[in-house]
């Protein structure tokens, strides 16, 4: 496989570094992708969303702060930092304060098992995929805490809708991911990625090696939209119905944390879908005869580049859908989950199993 021994040595040395009992190096290795994603999510995610939506809507978007408004997000962060941190008097203070924290932790915990390259992985768990799917469920707790703690009817509606939605959509999402796990024969994120690596580039990806894989791929993509509360499944924060949904009462930094968690989980599901079906950090370019494009574009830095690019691509598709489609209704959303996606995910599960047995 194309893991780079020198980088592995380097990262091994770093993770071995510790001050006394405290494994500082290990924390840094785990923190690198996290910090990157946090920065990305705050600056480029928000900026990108605003720009993409602006271009889709025939306008320019933020243009004032910096060249083409590139510093707009920084200005927004400064504004949010300066804002008064309001806790409503009738709110359940404990839940109100801890809710955004749970949300944030929930969406960023899964980053621990995302491989950003042959060496860049927080923890290569042998149940990585299982862990990633499971840990997302913590978000439901956070949302419920936020919605209930606000003591606001709109927030409560949003929270109840959101929890129902996340819990329901986890079923087709998990079964769809199980198809990928079945194809790979492992639950380790790193090994799923390695199964899809090869000189053929994209031809080794599950999506292209397997005639059935597009079905779980689509199912997981649709479910991931619902899990991250993105349009057309953004009913928990449906602003025309529920004002702002579960975070109606939030302002200032707590609002920013919820926002950040949302962008974090957007990237998380995009990364998971790229790992499960599109080869994670492997290069899409194939070796064509003597032209060894794949070999040239593989390696630790390229790996991080590719997975982030794939993540960006799916985030772009998410934004594209968001700014195009209206919102589904609550019952239509549940109909789609239980009567369309779940049966089809079971079908794809069986078909994948047959495929795996015969190959």
């Amino acid at each position: 496989m194309s893991s780079s021994p020198s980088l592995n040595t380097w990262s091994d040395a770093l993770s071995g570094f510790s001050i006394g009992w405290f494994p500082l190096g290990l924390v840094i290795v785990a923190a690198i992708p996290l910090v990157f994603i946090a920065l990305y999510a705050l600056t480029y995610g928000v900026y990108g969303e605003r720009k993409i939506s602006a271009f889709m809507q025939d306008r320019l978007g933020p243009m004032e702060v910096g060249f083409w408004g590139i510093l707009q997000t920084l200005a927004d962060i400064l504004k949010l930092l300066q804002k008064e941190d309001i806790v409503p008097t009738v709110a359940d203070k404990f839940l109100f304060v801890i809710g955004p924290g749970i949300l944030f932790v929930g969406s960023f915990l899964a980053f621990a098992v995302l491989p950003f390259g042959p060496a860049f992985i927080g923890a290569d768990l042998n149940v990585g995929l299982f862990y990633a799917v499971g840990i997302v469920a913590i978000e439901a707790v956070g949302i419920l805490a936020v919605g209930w703690g606000s003591n606001n009817k709109w927030a409560l509606y949003g929270a109840v809708r959101s929890v129902a939605q996340i819990v329901s959509y986890e079923i087709p999402a998990s079964i769809a991911l199980l198809c990928a796990a079945m194809l790979a024969g492992t639950l380790s994120m790193q090994q799923i990625t390695m199964m899809q690596a090869g000189p053929g580039g994209f031809m080794h990806w599950f999506l292209f090696t397997n005639p059935i894989a597009w079905l779980p791929f689509l199912i997981y993509f649709i479910s991931s939209l619902a899990e991250t509360n993105r349009a057309p499944f953004d009913i928990p924060e449906a602003e025309s119905e529920l004002v702002a949904g579960y975070f109606t009462e939030y302002s200032g930094m707590k609002f920013a944390v919820i926002f950040l968690a949302e962008y974090g989980s957007m990237f998380m599901v995009s990364a998971i879908i790229s790992i499960a079906f599109l080869g994670g950090w492997t290069s899409p370019l194939p070796n064509i005869g003597g032209l060894e494009l794949n070999t040239m574009t593989s390696g630790p830095v390229w790996g991080a580049f590719w997975i982030i690019m794939k993540g960006f691509f799916f985030i772009f598709v998410q934004m594209w859908l968001r700014w195009t489609l209206p919102r589904l209704r609550v019952d239509q959303l549940m109909y789609l989950c239980w009567k369309v996606l779940t049966p089809f995910s079971l079908v794809s599960f069986v078909l994948t199993a047959i495929w795996v047995i015969n190959h």
Partner: protein, 400 residues
């Protein structure tokens, strides 16, 4: 209003009565929740307040509360002269100021029984049809945003901006025009008015089609509006609905055709009515569809008016405006087809005063909104939003 309290599922049963103790089995309490929607709410289109009694997501009953924007229009009218009422009419339906002015002016002209120059009539029709398109664009755009689609909203506002600048160029104001005066117009149109309006028509046609494809033919949009909030035709008439709302229920009723005023009898246009193939007649989608199709008809009207409008050099649009408006004693009920329906004015003159004794505005939104309570019964909250959006209220006109 339905009695507030425990929902019907709640029941208490005595299951066993021993010698000493009574064992009572109780279902879990479920109570109705009162949800005050508005006056500050994104989808109440202003300051409408709906007091919803909800059972989970289901609205058991919704009672509208109005008056947050009440500005005593009718009281003002009794204090000021007839021409001075025109700017106030702008502020009623602020999305269709030209149409409001037109309705008021033709009512007073009916009372005065005066002739209007033909050029003035055509200009009036052009500006009010332009304003109708602008108003429908807002209606469609905000409806899209009610259902969660942001992009059509901005497309609508982009195109509306062209109309706004056209009308600003003509009248000097973007929304509150004070352009149509009793007996004439404030100004004649600028020199290359015809070219610019024709340019707009050619610009807007493909954009309207694009909007139609993006929104009206969108699967999710259709799912959200199809078969929601059905109003049968006879009930709609009984509720006094008019305009796109009534036509959405399948009644071919358009004052421009049925009670013609100005130069509408000379013009050739259709009155779109849903045929029940794409939508259920009377549902939210039908009402939306009527608005979407009406824009095309307005474009047709504008084109014909541009052709037929007489060119008169050195035309003085104020020439026939009476110096002192003091109608003879009498009463009149005049109306015109507003983008939202029939906007009528009931004016009583005592023949002595220069201000009306009574001026009542029959607001189309006010009447259309009165069916809200019936329409909202047993709907889901998202459907409630869809229904409010399809009524297309302007609170300035509801509260007057």
């Amino acid at each position: 209003m339905q009695e507030l309290g425990k929902a019907e599922t709640n029941s208490t049963r005595i299951i066993r009565q021993d010698d000493k103790r009574v064992i009572i089995e109780k279902d879990l309490d479920t109570e109705y929740m009162v949800l005050s929607m508005g006056p500050q709410h994104p989808s109440t289109h202003g300051v409408l307040r709906l007091e919803c009694i909800t059972d989970g997501e289901v609205v058991v009953e919704a009672e509208p509360y109005l008056g947050y924007l009440h500005r005593c229009f009718e009281k003002y009218c009794e204090k000021v002269d007839y021409p001075a009422i025109v700017p106030y009419t702008d502020r009623m339906d602020y999305l269709a100021g030209m149409n409001s002015e037109l309705a008021y002016c033709i009512t007073v002209e009916k009372l005065l029984d005066i002739e209007i120059p033909r050029r003035v009539e055509f200009i009036r029709v052009i500006v009010s049809e332009l304003n109708r398109i602008a108003s429908h664009l807002v209606a469609i755009g905000t409806y899209a945003i009610d259902l969660g689609a942001f992009t059509p909203f901005l497309f609508c506002f982009r195109d509306r901006e062209h109309i706004m600048s056209l009308l600003e160029w003509i009248s000097g104001a973007r929304m509150l025009y004070n352009y149509i005066w009793i007996g004439g117009l404030a100004y004649d149109v600028p020199a290359d008015f015809k070219t610019r309006v024709a340019e707009f028509v050619t610009y807007f046609r493909p954009k309207a089609k694009e909007l139609y494809q993006l929104l009206t033919e969108n699967e999710i949009f259709v799912k959200r509006t199809y078969d929601i909030g059905i109003m049968p035709a006879d009930v709609a008439i009984n509720y006094g609905w008019s305009g796109p709302m009534l036509r959405g229920s399948g009644v071919k009723w358009d004052l421009r055709r049925n009670d013609p005023y100005s130069v509408y009898p000379e013009l050739d246009f259709d009155v779109p009515v849903p045929d029940g193939k794409f939508s259920v007649v009377g549902d939210c989608l039908s009402r939306h569809l009527v608005r979407a199709l009406e824009m095309e008809e307005s474009l047709k009207i504008i084109e014909q008016c541009l052709d037929k409008m007489p060119e008169e050099p050195n035309f003085n649009s104020r020439a026939l405006i009476p110096k002192k408006i003091r109608p003879k004693a009498g009463e009149v009920y005049g109306r015109a087809e507003n983008p939202r329906g029939e906007l009528g004015y009931y004016i009583v003159s005592d023949g002595k005063s220069t201000s009306p004794l009574r001026c009542k505005a029959r607001s189309s939104c006010f009447v259309n909104l009165s069916a809200m309570k019936d329409l909202s019964k047993g709907q889901l909250i998202p459907d409630l939003v869809a229904i409010i959006g399809s009524i297309d209220i302007v609170l300035g006109e509801v509260d007057r």
